[in-house]
Structure formats: C-alpha cells, structure tokens
Amino acid sequence: MPHSRSLLRVARRIASDPAAAEDLVQETLLRAWRNFDRFEKGTNVRAWLFRILFNAFYAQGRKARSSPLVASIEEGRLEAMSRGDARAQPPIVEAAAVSHALQQLSDDHRAVLLLGVVEGFTCREMAEILSLPIGTVMSRISRARQALRERLSPACSDVLHPRADVECAEREVS
C-alpha cells in the first residue's frame, strides 16, 4: 500500500499501543479507498493520507500516549545508558535519548515534529493536514523544538551542541 510505512511510523508514535497504531493505519487506508473520488488529482496524496490519519486519530479521541512497543525499546536503551555503555555505543544511546524525549512531549508537539522534521512536510502542508492556521503551526513547531531540546538537556547537550560548531560559527562571522 502506498505510504503505509510512513503512516505506521507516525501512528506508532501517536497511538496508545502497536495494535492501535496498525488499526489507525488500516482505518486510514480504508477511508482513502472509500473516498478516493474526493482526492484532487495533482495535489499531494501523501499529505491527503496523513490528513485522514490525523482526522481518524482525533475522531477516536486521544488515548494514552506512549506506545508499549516504543516504551520497551526505550527502556532497553536507557538501561544501557545507565550501565555506562554510553561511550561504548554513543549512536544507540543518543537514539534512545532522542526517541524517549519525543515520547515525553504533548500530542500536539509530537505531531508537528513527526510531520515536519521526520516526514518532511512544509508548514503549509502541516496546516492542511492538522486543519490549523499556518501561524499556529509555526509557533507550535518552535515550541515543540524547544521542548525537545529541554528534555534532551543536559544528557545529550555535548552530542547535539558540540563546542566545535560554535567555534566554527564564530569563525564564519569573523
């Protein structure tokens, strides 16, 4: 099915558990099939599918956030971090920290980060998908980015904001 992996990737992060995420994607694809005659040819079919996904999600009511599947992945990775494996396997620890921090955000913040940063939608497309004014999307994604940074700090601050970058920026300006 077209775009089902992308839809499931996002659904796993907003639905209550893996089964609910699969049900949400299933409902999305069936609605798309039933309403294909409403799709405007030449417009972005991916954005249309994500709009259906979020409409279905909101219609269900926002259930419990963090997926047990995601949570179990996080627990394993965070255990590794607490055992002091961070320096031995920095990419894995970093991934766990980023993934865990994302799950701590509100549904609204997580949604704009998933759509804008992970799935690559523009602010205008996100406004369409989430039925929001573009100004709201802009302020929401700014706050979401800030919230994610706060949750990652200070554990990953050395990874995400290396001194070398600051020095490089300063050299560029001078």
């Binding site: 089902s4 994607v25 980023v98 994302l102 602010c123 994610l148 920026a169």
Partner: protein, 262 residues
Amino acid sequence: MNCHERAELTPLYLSGELEEERAAAFGAHLKSCAECIGELQHQARLDARLHDVLLAEDVNATKVDQRVREMIASRAASQPAYRDESRRWILATAGIAAAFALLVLAGHRFLLGKQVAQVYADAARDDQMEVVQLQPRHWYSDPAQISVLAQKVGVPQSALQALQRGPYRLERAKICFLDKHLFLHVVFSDGQRDLSMFLRQRDAMSVQGSADEMMNGKLVQTADIGGEHVALFETPQLIVMVATTQSSDAASHLVAFAASKL
C-alpha cells in the same frame, strides 16, 4: 531583521518556505549574529538527529497492508455497492492508464502546453538568474544543512551521496519553487563550470518535455528554452532535472551520470 523575528521565521526557513526577500533578510541577519547562527545550527543538528533516529526504526507495514487488501477484496466481493464502486474505481484507473498510454504513444511533443512546460521554463530561469548571472541568493554549502533541505523535498541523503561519487563536486544548494512545487536546487561543478540540478520526491506533477531519449535505462525528456538546455528524468522515488547554458552535451553528460547513480 532582529533576533526575535529570526526566531519567528525559523520554521519557514528550515522548511524552505521563506520567500526570497525575507530569506535574504534572514541570511543577512545570520551573517551578523553569531548567537543566531549557533542556535540555527543546533536546531538543524537536532532535526537531523530526530529524523535519522525515527527513520532508522524498523517499521513493517506488511501485516496492515495485507489486512487492508483482504478487507477491500472482501467488501468488493460481498457488497454490491462496494463491488460497483470497486469496479468503477478499477475501470476509471484502467481508463486513465489507457488514455495516458495513448498520449505517450502519440508523442510527448503534442502534449506540450503552457502548463506542462512551466517546470522547464522555471528551471531555465532559475539557472540563468542564480547560476549564470549569480544574482544574490542564500545558498547553503554545509553538507548537514543541505541534508536538512533535501529532507524537506523528500530527497534521501543516499541520493546526494551517490551524486557525489563521480566527476562532479556538490558546491551549494537551496530550496526553490518550480511550477509551484518545492525543489532542491543543487549546483554541481565539474571543475570548470557550474551546472544546476533540481531534485524533489516524485509525485503526481506533470513533467513532459519536448523530446525524449533513453540514457542508462531512464527516459530523459529535454527542452531548449532561451539558450538553456533542460533535461529531466524520473526514478521510482525522484524527479531529477538538469539545466545549463553550457551546451546540450554538458547537460546530457550530467543527466547520464545522474541516471546511472539514482
């Protein structure tokens, strides 16, 4: 532009949606503000991390796909309304495909209307203004920032990497609008001259040119517009365009190289 305005516009800047005038003001502010450059680099780095982490997750939609296929088949078989709907859908799809095949057989040059040629004209204009005339634009040369821009138009990092394994060097990149669609405008150098390449995720946009030929297994469509040689081909994932005033051979060489790598 001050730091507060820069912060407000950052979402549009990072998604490549800022209009040229405001993008120029944004860029000018960055050049004069080390704090904002550091902030933006930090943000771009965090975005790239989040993107990479989630895309590296194992997501298997096979089970859902199978369930949906079975449900559609079941509904189509058991309910007259669905059966009719399904039949209409299949007939409509088959009809569109047949019509498209006939049009292709009739020759792309007969399709060349104002609308379908626009993307070529826009690519030619961008190359002329931004690469030939070197009009001031905010370009990115940092690979990490280019990678973030590429994500915005659905171009995978692997595609950019593949294009750099050859005689061309990736010089700089920016986001642009061609026929109302966002493209990544990448400038490659062969050591003597700069050539424009435009990339975006493949979708339903119409891209017919005036002539076509096969290169490395890809159907390449071309158009000559006001001294600019424009060539385009598609892969299952991407739309790839090349524009240059150098020569049609230079355009063909870059297209053939890209077609062999993507």
